[in-house]
Amino acid sequence: MPFDAPLPDFDLAADFWSLRLVEESCDSYTVRKNVALPFATMTDRGVMATVYADGGYGYAATGDTSPAGMRAALDRALGWARATARHAIADSRTLPRPAPRAQYQSPAWSETGMSRRAWYDLLAEESQRAAIDARIVDWEAGVEVRTAVHRLVTSTGGDVVQRYRFLFPNMSVTAHADGDTQTRTLNGYRGLCQQGGADVLDRFGFVGSGRRVAEEALELIVAPNCPSGTMDVLLMPDQMILQIHESIGHPLELDRILGDERNFAGTSFVTPDMFGSYRYGSDLLNVTFDPTRPEELASYAYDDDGTPAEKQYLIRAGILERPLGGAISQARAGLPGVANARADSWNRPPIDRMANLNIEPGDASLASMIESIDDGVLMETNNSWSIDDSRNKFQFGCERGRVIKNGRLGDVVKNPGYRGISASFWRSLRMVGNTDTLRVLGTPYCGKGEPSQIIRVGHASPACVFTDVAVFGGES
């Protein structure tokens, strides 16, 4: 009933209220070292009531989606709004009261999907393909098939239902020899993630990946360490997504800029006065918030506060234009923003999140980027990330590197890493790959918030070249 039929007519003495219903399910299949792990399935259903009253704001969430459960949640949220109104950071009477009406659904939403047996057969085959050498000590092929239905009903007559289907394939292989251990994955742990059905597997070349990933793990276990020094780096899309995420996405979140996250996820080196004039990167840098790409992980029609989702430039030709801030943050800051108020489930309130945060492709081919580098390293697939709480000083590591000398690709190197400072790093962007180099990836594990939330984020990026970067390798 809560997702398909009209809700009861709740009569609440409030300026505005909404009910956000979420139902999510997930089937997990994994074959590890040729042994099928036990089948696991999950179903999660609940509702969050949000109320504006007397200038205050409050929420209450419950797993009881009956009319009585929703009524009780509305009453509790109303109690919070009234009790804390005099301390409220923003007067809720000044906040938007949306009334959206829309439907959204993922590609392949209505697809029947593969059977349990078919999934296990597929994964067993990839697992067997990975077992090619005694030095391979662990390996795993897996997939999560996830569906979600979100419904937002508002006291102003709004009613938005959004239906999602996601696929999260995963392939990882670990090799060990001579005291060293190297793990290779297919585009990172859960880096392969899109909306859609089995078509996602095809786009990522999942079939056959077991052997391919295993061969690269064996390549790494005998490879030398990445060289150290100041040089060019060519970052492939499965590293670029992390670079975008940590040093553009998080610092541009408006709630960070407003200080909400300072006790936990951190603040931002970006300040409100920078929008419209600050040079974030070179002229080649164009960054968009784009919820319209159907297969990308965080495409949707409306955010969880009921704001319509549209493509917006955050950085254009290197100049900072607008932050990642939802309607409430926009009202607090007096800045434009995007539709990115998102909650990871029914039991957490919406906050400013990345959704799909992309780098627009340029015109350089991969070959031309390699040819342009006299001394550098190509790096792919993030496996280590760390950045300061203002999102400035970062250090990232990758699974695999290849030395580039005099415009030619050379040896594979292990433990490639680099460090830099966000405020200057993007200005060293020298080449941006064309659409042939672009991959649509993401992560299901973006964490922030108090209480904390882990949310799905999409990133599409071409390969990119940066100059004069501090590069290093492993310990020994």
Binding site: T41, T43, G259, N263, S386, K393
Partner: protein, 439 residues
């Protein structure tokens, strides 16, 4: 709530067919979350959530369904029965699991801690009044948390605790702040006032002009809160029996001779923590599991599955084989003497965003954060702009470890991803001869 869970377990008992077994875990909470910023309330709310995870075992095949509950007994017992039916239909699609291991004895237990807390609205008013217009940002989380276990053999375990956890920062400017925590079973206004007063003292030191240090090697004293970040990273598979067996643990080289300083000892201290003394398959968790003694790896956390796969002894670990109550033994440096022993160097109050820069070498990178100061002659001179360190555990807690504090501090986790986590750690401060800072 305990009776409600017992009713669900009875429904599972009734739904069982001949030759089948089940295990079930229950996790629930009724939490008030009040988020604050700039000395005001940003988001106040309440979350009531209940989940049941049912594993049905038929022979050596098994499958699990985790689902949310409504709190209505009739609705939820029906859902539990339906889950059993659906799991039964899945078993024919599965293969026998060679690594299935379930307990052969019944070990029921019951723990109930904590009394009702004051109304959260009242506590938050007290906190904001105490901030007196300062730039306070943080969260108050409070209420009961429940964990339960049941199986078809009649084992029943119950763990309920009512706690609060206030984590707040006082900001002086930009990224210069002091972070504090007050958590426990009973709210004591005097204890809170003392912690707020202590925070203000440190905030006055933060107000001084910051010192910007060039990359290099510096002598450092890490407070227990800073050590917690390092220990927390080691929990990412470092002590996992499976990760050690497959050489993926960051401590894998300790299996072949690498060692920490002989004064370093780690152990899983379930008896001294707040986590339940039972795990998802129903095995009891020992009071303590030694992990590192005399600087050498002596044990690991072994889940039932890992035990069966690698021929090890299960020791109460959950599937992730992560410590839930990691403790580190203290040393012989009185905490009050720590600054004097540091003499000149860094007082690191907090570390942040740690990750491995070379996992097999257990080389760790991360940032300083919050109250980190430059100390000269045992006296705090100035706050320090954030620094990145990149160093190995074998140096920081090995060749370069100069002392550990005698006192260890119990740190209750404030983590709230998905639910309020029942984890803790008990750790000393560490004086390190030199630590490598790179940026």
């Amino acid at each position: 709530m305990e009776g409600y869970f017992a009713t669900l377990a009875s429904a599972l008992d009734r739904a069982l067919r001949a030759g089948e077994r089940y295990t079930a875990t229950f996790d629930a909470e009724d939490t008030d979350f009040v988020r604050m910023n700039r000395g005001k309330v940003r988001q106040p709310g309440s979350v009531s959530q209940r989940y049941l995870s049912v594993r049905l075992i038929g022979g050596a095949r098994h499958a699990e369904h985790r689902f949310s509950l409504t709190g209505n007994v009739a609705t939820d017992t029906a859902a539990a029965t339906t889950a059993m039916t659906q799991l039964r239909s899945a078993l024919p699609d599965l293969t026998d699991d060679p690594h299935l291991l379930l307990p052969t004895t019944i070990a029921s237990s019951r723990t109930q801690r904590g009394d009702p807390l004051p109304a959260s609205e009242q506590v938050v008013t007290e906190v904001l009044d105490a901030a007196r217009g300062d730039d306070l940002v943080g969260i108050y989380a409070a209420g009961p948390v429940y964990r339960g276990f049941a199986n078809s053999e009649g084992q029943r375990n119950w763990h309920a605790t009512t706690t609060f956890n206030l984590q707040w920062s006082l900001y002086q400017r930009a990224d210069k702040a002091v972070k504090s925590t007050y958590a426990g079973l009973g709210w004591d206004p005097a204890a809170f006032t003392q912690k707020m007063d202590d925070a203000r003292v440190r905030l006055s030191l933060i107000a001084r002009a910051p010192k910007r240090l060039a990359p290099g090697k510096y002598r450092a004293f890490l407070t227990p809160t800073a050590v917690e970040e390092i220990a927390g990273l080691l929990c990412w598979g470092g002590f996992s029996g499976r990760a050690l067996a497959t050489r993926q643990s960051a401590l894998a080289r300790m299996q072949s001779g690498e060692r920490l300083d002989r004064r370093v000892a780690f152990f899983e201290d379930t008896a001294g923590g707040v986590a339940p003394a039972f795990q998802a398959e129903g095995f009891a968790r020992p009071a303590q599991v030694p992990l590192v003694e005399d600087g050498q790896l002596v044990g690991s956390l072994v889940s039932p599955r890992t035990a069966r796969e690698f021929g090890l002894e299960a020791n109460g670990a959950n599937g992730a084989e992560m410590p839930e109550a990691l403790a580190m033994g203290g040393g012989d440096l009185a905490a009050a003497d720590a600054l004097g022993a540091l003499d000149t160097g860094l007082l690191v109050g907090n570390l942040w965003y740690l990750n491995y820069s070379d996992r097999p070498a257990c080389r760790i990178t991360g940032m300083t954060r919050f109250a980190t100061f430059w100390v000269e002659g045992g006296e705090i001179v100035a706050p320090v702009d954030v620094l990145r360190f990149d160093d190995t555990i074998y140096r920081m807690l090995g060749s370069n470890l100069e002392a550990l504090t005698t006192e260890t501090e119990l740190l209750l986790s404030g983590e709230t991803y998905g639910s309020r986590h029942l984890m803790s750690s008990r750790l000393p401060g560490a004086l390190v001869k030199e630590m490598a800072f790179t940026l």
